[in-house]
Structure formats: structure tokens, C-alpha cells
């Protein structure tokens, strides 16, 4: 089992907590799918409101690891300050680092991402950087102190699946010992199985579950697909070939007129 900063997770399923129809459905999705990590965020709190405390109790009661994010941050300084606030609120040094560089695609800003990652790693954070399949960027993030990479499957919230399988295969092959999580862009369980079959260690998704007609059923479907993909990877799949090869033996076939 892959360890993320020394933590071996019981399942390879990381699940977001946003956009669910209700807190009860959120809780059921986690419970039924056995997702082992919950991603969370920090947002402005109004005076007198207790929304933060209520949500914190809900997350704590899930009994899973908490991974705060810096979603919506467009600069290293903004992401760093957000990470520090998240560390205090959620009592964890794990941080899903997002430094967005393009508002339409929500593509990471590679330069800002590396700058923020280096600063946070020096400050003791265990950084999970939301990145692309870019090999050079991966190298810089590892140099900055990241011990985990989280390449996107597709832009956040699109549900397009793995849009660059070649790039993801290359990244996986280039760094076989680095724990990697496919983060964002998945829409269907079959895409999750594909990612695990490619050798990724875990998946992080949110919208595909939360916006499904039945989020709990979809969470379970993803959990089964993740497990299936992992089993298949470990089972050493056959090599594909272009020529047909009969599976039924020819020897012993009756000669019939």
C-alpha cells in the first residue's frame, strides 16, 4: 500500500466535500464508499455565524484524514496565507496546494505553484500540489520538497476523464516511486479504473459524485472502480497486440466437411 507522507491510507479514494445536496448525503457518500480522505477549504465567516464549527464537527465525525485546499488562490502569497490559516483550523500540516494560473481552465500556474510549494515545505507543510502532467514541473515540485504529486486528469469540474493519457503514462513512468494522485476532471468510474490501471496510487474527485443524481450510489461506484483498477494493475495485465490470437486451442479441433 502506498504511503502519503508516511500515512498508509485504507483506501485509494479521496473525496471532496463540496456541492452535495445535503450534509446527510455527504456523510452517507463517505460512509458507503469508504473514502479515506476528505478535502475541505476555508472561507470567510460572518460574525455570529457558526457555520464553520458545524462543518468542522461534520468532517471530524467522518473519521477520515482531512486535506485542506487553497482553492481559488491565484498567487503564491495568497496560497501560503490560506494554507497557514487552514493548518490552524483543521489541525493538520497536509495541504492540497492550488495556485491557479488561468481562470477558464483552472490550470495551475507552474511558476507560482513551485514558489508556494517551496515556501510551504520549508515551513513544515506536507504539500500535495495540484499540478499537470508536465515532467519538468514535476521535477521542480519534487526539488521544492514535495513528496506527493497530484496531476490533473482534466480541468476541474469538467468530467472529461484522462484527456492526456500519454502525458500521464510518461509522468508515472518517469517517477515510479513518487506517490501520485489523479486530482480533478474525472466524470465516470470507468475513468477512475483506467487511472488506477495506469499505476496511479489514489484518486481525488468531488463533482462527479456530488453532482450525480444519486451521489451515494456514484461514490460507491467510484470506490468499486478504484479497487478494480488497483487489482488489475497488481495482476500484471497482458500486453496488447495488433494481431488476433485464438484463445481456444486449435489442436484437437474436428475436421468437418
Amino acid at each position: 500500500m502506498t504511503a502519503f507522507y508516511g500515512v498508509e491510507l485504507p483506501t485509494a479514494f479521496m473525496l471532496g466535500t463540496a456541492q452535495y445536496p445535503s450534509p446527510a448525503i455527504l456523510g452517507a457518500a463517505f460512509c458507503e464508499s469508504a473514502a479515506s480522505v476528505a478535502t475541505v477549504s476555508v472561507r470567510r465567516e460572518a460574525a455570529g455565524a457558526q457555520a464553520g464549527e458545524g462543518f468542522w464537527r461534520l468532517v471530524r465525525d467522518l473519521g477520515v484524514h482531512v486535506l485542506p485546499n487553497t482553492a481559488g488562490c491565484y498567487s503564491p502569497s495568497e496560497a501560503i496565507t490560506t494554507a497557514k490559516m487552514a493548518r490552524e483550523l483543521f489541525e493538520t500540516d497536509w495541504i492540497k496546494l492550488e495556485v491557479i494560473g488561468h481562470s477558464d481552465s483552472l490550470q495551475p500556474d507552474p511558476f507560482g505553484l513551485v514558489e508556494a510549494a517551496a515556501s510551504l515545505c520549508r515551513d513544515g507543510f506536507k504539500v500535495f500540489p495540484y499540478t499537470t502532467e508536465d515532467l519538468v514541473l514535476a521535477d521542480r515540485l519534487l526539488d521544492a520538497g514535495c513528496e506527493v504529486l497530484m496531476p490533473w486528469g482534466a480541468p476541474i469540474g469538467t468530467g472529461l476523464g484522462l484527456v492526456n493519457p500519454y502525458g500521464l503514462r510518461s509522468l508515472r513512468a518517469q517517477y515510479p516511486d513518487v506517490p501520485m494522485v489523479i486530482d480533478a476532471g474525472l466524470g465516470l468510474p470507468s475513468q477512475a479504473a483506467q487511472a488506477m490501471e495506469m499505476g496511479f496510487d489514489a484518486l481525488l474527485l468531488n463533482t462527479a459524485v456530488a453532482k450525480a443524481g444519486d451521489p451515494v450510489a456514484m461514490a460507491v461506484a467510484f470506490a468499486k472502480a478504484i479497487e478494480a483498477g488497483k487489482l488489475a494493475r497488481n495482476a500484471d495485465p497482458m500486453a496488447p497486440c495488433d494481431m488476433a490470437a485464438p484463445s481456444t486451442p486449435l489442436i484437437g479441433k474436428a475436421f468437418l466437411q
Binding site: 471532496g16 466535500t17 463540496a18 456541492q19 452535495y20 455527504l26 478535502t39 475541505v40 477549504s41 476555508v42 472561507r43 470567510r44 465567516e45 460572518a46 460574525a47 455570529g48 455565524a49 457558526q50 457555520a51 464553520g52 464549527e53 462543518f55 468542522w56 468532517v59 485542506p68 485546499n69 482553492a71 502569497s77 495568497e78 496565507t81 497557514k84 490559516m85 487552514a86 490552524e88 483550523l89 483543521f90 476541474i156 480533478a184 474527485l205 468531488n206 463533482t207
Partner: protein, 65 residues
């Protein structure tokens, strides 16, 4: 003096962050704070001076992906 709390102008009389939080009605809420873009840990709020024009961000746990 006038400061900004989460983007909204406020008139306050307190001069340190801990007192401002109390005056603004946050009480013992589970919040994290930043002043002018810099994180201020909970243990440093009482010694963090607040001056006119300062911009406070007060955040709490929320859903995220």
C-alpha cells in the same frame, strides 16, 4: 477607526486583533485570521496591533474539493 473585515468597512474602537474579534461579534468562534494578507496565529492575536485602514480576513472551515 475604520477597518475592513472580510471586505466590509467597520468602525471599531479596539486596537488589537483579539479585541477586534470580540468587538465584532466573533466571540469564541472557530476562525483563523489574516491582517493585511499575513496570517496571524491565534496565540498572537492579543499582541497584534490593529490600525486604521487595516484589512482583516476572518475564515472558518468550509466544504471544498
Amino acid at each position: 477607526m475604520k477597518i475592513s473585515i472580510n471586505g466590509v468597512a467597520k468602525d471599531i474602537t479596539s486596537t488589537n486583533l483579539a479585541a477586534v474579534l470580540h468587538e465584532a461579534g466573533y466571540g469564541d468562534a472557530r476562525v483563523a485570521t489574516a491582517v493585511n494578507g499575513h496570517f496571524v496565529p491565534v496565540g498572537q492575536r492579543a499582541s497584534c496591533p490593529i490600525e486604521a485602514g487595516d484589512q482583516l480576513e476572518i475564515v472558518a472551515p468550509r466544504q471544498g474539493g
